[in-house]
Symmetry: C2
Subunit: 340 residues, 2 copies
DNA sequence: CTGAAAGCGCTAACAT
DNA sequence: ATGTTAGCGCTTTCAG
């Protein structure tokens, strides 16, 4: 079962490898008759050029790396479906690198991707979401970006302007807060997310500022941090609900925590949205599956993904790209804040 | 920003490339002093060997391909988290290929993966789940498997014994049915899944046979096919509930359809599990997030993934592997069938 | 329109 | 313990 190479084809067609290469790549005119002969042999042997060899000479692999913290959070797969189509169409293929937000795994993957000579990297989560990204880690990415185009999705490396694509989470959080205030809520809490994560910080900032804008002073004790999981949402919510004086509406850092919050509320015998309104973020499929359906903010994850890839592609082609592409989020009002 | 190669290192260390290669791979003893010198240079230049070149000579890429229909169904990411750790530990990296169950995209990816010289492929969904897989498509996979190790997850290519790893969905479906019968249900329906899909067929077979075993004759009009989506579950369930004579329990092909079914039931003003009991399949995170929590069958997706990779790895190493590895599913009884 | 030959960056015999 | 040399399979000048 010997692998057939351009040489085999060339020999049997009685031409040089160059010619075979030419019909393979359409890189120069080839006489019709010889082209036909070669094409037939390719067909006959089901010949497929070895991408490694090709990439080695061309210095281009048509492979990219996608780094993200947690494939289990439906938000990320959503971003993919966007990327994947664009990718496939452009003949790219990608390595999926799940890091669990772990710095060392990130570093390891960064190295691996470089070894594999990927043409570019899409980086989500992890250190680029950290409020205080250790300089060493930032530098590592910046250095690599000198060899390989990197685009950051929904994150940043302060002081190091790498091309970024993001949804405007600040605006999204404003929308949520405005929405709740409009519904008459004055006592609003915020739960979930790690305090040292930009996603969280940005949302809380918008949340507080919007409250103030409406003459409501934010209450620190109604802002409770944790992580991004269902379990966390449940725990924080149930704690919040135990207070004598408790909020009538809660803004959750993402859909996962919202689901936890909803469970906690129902367990506490409360009805949603009458006793307490709940809002999520991300508009994962979960949001419209759960009962009550969740009011949430769409990050336009699909578009986010497509945009990220397009920016990367331009970077790869050596074209100029905007340093920051912002995508507008969209508030989706559903049953968890407004009765049907 | 010239890329540094083994030659650069060798020259500066005043040794031959071979020696550099040796310290890189630990493939032969190197004097301590020269090793040190080389290591320092590697450090200094942040040198990383070019994996393409290496793979080209070694005929091994440490890359594998994972083909699956839909990354948006949480079941698949779950399988990953299993695979990924095992993979990363063994120094492998993988291409994620999402096909949407589309035959052509599958074929395209199969070709692409071959070009990229992956060491192996894990194949899930699509044609290997089809009851009547067109011979051309089956042959394509079988032929490829002569060049590249392939393991099929939860699927098969009839008459073509490729190594397979699967959860015993038949047993899982038996468990579900037994469970419902035990609870006193005699009128049980089944919804969702495509009729030409093995997953569906197997479940329905087990379902019907278990019913018969208990003297209940299955009713064809209570078995309704569709696909694997939430929307489908909702539609089918709501149809079923409109019948005068309707089931008191419904077995859904997967968690997604269960969620739809739950929504439909609640919309119809029914309470779960009192008026109608609902069971899912897969135990995706969704199952324990939803209210009521879903009784479902765990496919042990994590273990499934790990096992798949281990089989693949043995295949890659030219070791003997069992043609079929079966993983036992587990019934998880929750609120959607039994009141808390 | 076609071919010879060099080279991509690395590993692996085969010496020494 | 180290070096020489020949590939791996392809693309790409450079010459016809």
């Amino acid at each position: 079962m010997k692998r057939v190479t351009v040489y085999d084809i060339a020999k049997e067609a009685k031409v040089s490898v160059t010619t075979v290469s030419r019909v393979l790549n359409g890189t120069a005119p080839v006489k019709h008759s010889t082209r036909k002969k070669i094409t037939e042999l390719i067909e006959k042997y089901q010949f497929q050029p070895n991408a490694l060899a090709r990439s080695l000479t061309k210095k281009e692999t048509k492979m990219i790396g996608i780094i993200l913290p947690d494939i289990t959070n439906p938000f990320f797969p959503e971003v993919f479906t966007g990327v994947e189509n664009a990718l496939a169409e452009a003949g790219y293929t990608f390595f999926l690198c799940t890091t669990g937000g772990n710095d060392e795994r990130e570093s390891a993957y960064l190295g691996l991707l470089r070894e594999k000579q990927v043409d570019g990297i899409i980086f989500m989560g992890g250190r680029i979401n950290s409020v205080e990204c250790p300089p060493v880690l930032a530098e590592e990415v910046v250095n690599l970006s000198k060899h390989i185009p990197i685009v950051l999705v929904n994150g940043t490396l302060p002081g190091n302007p790498l091309p970024r694509v993001k949804t405007d989470e600040y605006v999204g959080a404003e929308m949520v807060t405005e929405h709740l205030i409009e519904l008459g809520h004055r006592k609003i809490g915020f739960i979930g997310g790690m305090e040292e994560t930009t996603t969280t910080v940005e949302k809380v900032a918008a949340f507080e500022s919007t409250l103030k804008k409406h003459g409501i002073s934010p209450r620190k004790d109604w802002i409770r941090y944790g992580d991004f999981s269902v379990a966390c949402g449940r725990k924080l919510m149930s704690g919040l609900l135990k207070e004598r004086d408790r909020p009538t509406a809660v803004f959750c850092v993402n859909d996962f925590t919202s689901v936890g919050a909803i469970k906690a509320a129902i367990e506490a015998g409360l009805s949603i949205p009458d006793d307490v309104a709940i809002v999520g973020f991300d508009d994962t499929p979960l949001a419209s599956s759960i009962i009550p359906e969740l009011t949430t903010v769409s990050q336009e994850s699909n578009r986010l993904g497509v945009t990220a890839f397009h920016v990367l592609q331009r970077l790869i082609n050596g074209e100029q790209v905007e340093e920051l592409s912002v995508i507008q989020p969209r508030l989706l009002v559903r049953e968890s804040t407004v009765k049907k």
